[in-house]
């Protein structure tokens, strides 16, 4: 079987009913989608399949043979964060970080679909995603900010810039 994963044509050896989650994590070493429940109940495994947000734990890989798969690794990198990644960083939308990949892929699909900063619409789009740490407020704020096309000064909140602004606390 064949997938295009984050723009790279990839052949897949896993058995046809292997979940897309396991194909990505176990065969291809793409670990951003997480095994939170393997029942579709938490959203930690969500990736984009031909641009649509889907639970990779529920998807038999044979059903998406030939599809384009996008994961967090395909959104951006530490050197070039995508707007949704910047928004999440700036708004402290991640605490433990385990639900974050799924949240951002759902958010990205929402934004790609023209989603705006309406909080109810955002909650609806991310309704399948559970976070046990943040209480969701900052996640929704981050998605709303990204929807408004805000730019973020990450000089304070991005880890790469260290804490020199606090006078050398290391």
């Amino acid at each position: 079987m064949n997938l295009t994963v984050n723009g790279v044509a990839t052949s897949v050896e896993s058995a046809p009913l292997t979940s897309l989650l396991d194909v990505l994590r176990e065969e291809l070493g793409i670990t951003s989608p997480k095994a939170g429940c393997e029942q579709g109940g938490c959203g930690a495994c969500t990736v984009l399949v031909d641009g649509e947000a889907r639970r990779s734990c529920l998807t038999p890989v044979a059903a998406v043979d030939g599809a384009a798969i996008t994961t967090v690794e395909g959104l951006g990198s530490p050197e070039h964060l995508a707007p949704i990644q910047q928004a999440f960083t700036h708004h402290y939308a991640a605490q433990c970080g385990f639900c974050t990949s799924g949240m951002m892929m759902a958010a990205q699909a929402y934004l790609d679909d023209g989603g705006n900063d309406d909080h109810e619409a955002i909650q609806d789009a991310l309704g399948g995603h559970v976070c046990r740490c943040t209480g969701y407020v900052k996640i929704i704020d981050a998605v709303a900010a990204a929807a408004r096309g805000e730019s973020f000064d990450l000089s304070v909140t991005a880890a790469g810039t260290s804490m020199t602004n606090l006078g050398g606390v290391s």
Binding site: T31, K34, E38, S77, C96, G97, R132, A159, S162, L166
Partner: protein, 455 residues
């Protein structure tokens, strides 16, 4: 304190949003075997004829049972005087549904599941106990070796006991006794990352343990004790936790993976399913609390009688510690001079319970605050005034006789009243947490106060 109020970077913020954060299951260790557990299907039973031979005969499969554990029972909090009572793997009985009996390691997840399915044992079911209130009945099933409640508080007392002042006098003098029963249920932590561990047996005989534990050094000690290894044989890599909330302190996977890594000579990886996480991982304990307060018409709380039953599940684990903390806080943010507190760690056939956000104290805060509101309702007094009057002040003493030096009850309640727009009389608005005097020092509190200098 330059960080407070400032926007500061999360050191892991960028890693979280780029998928770079390496959670334990994200580590790709070549040749790692998959672990799965054979667990008790029943709540309470004698176990015999455990047969792992068919599993062990499967290609590439390794199995551990109680017999493989150098020190089968180790009290995780033995340093706090809590004796060991829980076998790492069940030996001749099971006391909770889901209790681990045997762990297998196999070349694939599928092979591991097949190996577990090939393990058999006989279970001779016994009556189970689920209600802490019934634990004390003469005809209750006795489910723990030492009976149905813990007996090793100081001087081998079977309860955590606090006595302060003269409770009988307080109840005699009361205008009203206000009673309440509070029973918060168990809560499953439900972190999005389930329990997970990987252990690598190094060429030099050391074990490297990649763990989701919240308590790295603590877990290291537990592994060392069960395996009877010196600490310098272990290297624990941790700190990246996909949510814990108190549920990842039980060292639930590390010791077992370490044993399998030793036995097989191969790396071992164990990731719990969500079903295991719900059914077999420890929860916040259910509590049963009964409070009776002796109060005066004008809102003084003269004394409190309290009974707490803490549902420890099948084994003690950390419960005596949780109950002890609970007992010190059983008056909450308020000063009650005469106390009769008795708390029991009660065994049931539930999964053993553990810490969760405010271990032991969250429960009693809920009970205390609800009870204060109940008192205010029964006396017809404003609930803010009731609280402010009885609030901890400098020089008041805690249940365990520690004098407060800087209690925050008064400023907190005033801030709440202000934030919600609740009107207070000038007298109450002007209150401070300073030492009691005048109207705030009624006769029954004279002589009850402590000296903050002693703190």
């Amino acid at each position: 304190m330059k960080a407070v109020g400032a926007r500061v970077p999360r050191y892991d913020g960028v890693a979280h949003v780029t998928g770079h954060t390496m959670f334990v299951d994200d580590l790709k260790i070549p040749g790692a075997l998959w672990a799965k557990a054979f667990r008790s299907p029943v709540h309470n039973a004698g176990m015999s004829n455990l047969d792992t031979s068919k599993a062990e005969a499967m290609p590439g499969v390794h199995v551990i049972t109680w017999n493989d554990v150098p020190l089968l029972e180790y009290g995780h909090l033995s340093a706090l005087g809590i004796p060991a009572d829980e076998p790492l793997l069940a030996k001749d009985e099971v006391r909770y549904l889901g209790q681990p009996i045997a762990i297998v390691a196999a070349p694939s997840e599928e092979a591991a599941m097949a190996a577990v399915a090939a393990i058999t044992a006989d279970f001779d079911e016994r009556p189970a106990l689920f209600d802490v209130r019934k634990a004390f009945d003469a005809d209750a099933p006795q489910i723990h070796a030492e009976g149905n409640w813990y007996r090793h508080f100081e001087d081998e007392m079977d309860r955590r006991q606090i006595r302060k002042g003269n409770i009988d006098e307080a109840f005699d003098k009361a205008d009203l006794i206000v009673q309440g029963v509070y029973r918060p249920a168990a809560i499953e932590h439900a972190p999005i990352e389930t329990q997970v561990c990987q252990v690598v047996p190094e060429a030099n005989g050391r074990l490297t343990i990649y763990s989701c534990t919240q308590a790295l050094y603590f877990s290291m000690g537990v592994v060392a004790a069960h395996l009877q290894l010196p600490l310098n044989k272990l290297k624990v890599v941790g700190g990246t936790v996909g949510g814990g909330f108190g549920g990842k302190v039980d060292t639930a996977t590390e010791t077992l993976c370490a044993l399998l890594a030793q036995k097989s000579g191969k790396p071992v990886r164990w990731r719990w399913t969500r079903e295991e996480e719900f059914l077999c991982s420890s929860t916040r304990a259910p509590w049963h609390m009964e409070i009776a307060d002796a109060v005066t018409k004008d809102g003084w709380i003269l004394g409190r009688k309290m009974l707490t039953l803490h549902d420890s599940g099948a084994y003690a684990r950390f419960s005596p510690y949780g109950l002890t903390k609970h007992s010190f806080h059983h008056t909450g943010a308020y000063s009650i001079p005469n106390l009769e507190f008795d708390g029991y760690v009660v065994y049931t056939n539930r999964t053993p319970t553990t810490a969760m956000r405010g271990f032991g104290v969250t429960s009693v805060s809920f009970a205390t605050e609800t009870h204060m509101s109940r008192i205010a309702l029964e006396l017809g007094i404003d609930p803010y005034e009731l609280r402010l009057k009885n609030a901890n002040r400098v020089g008041d003493t805690s249940p365990n006789q520690i004098a407060y030096t800087d209690p925050s009850t008064v400023p907190t309640i005033l801030a709440i009243a202000d934030a919600v727009g609740h009107d207070l009389t000038p007298e109450y608005k002007a209150m401070t947490p300073g030492p009691r005097s005048g109207a705030l020092l009624p006769e029954h509190l004279v002589g009850q106060l402590g000296n903050p200098e002693d703190h």
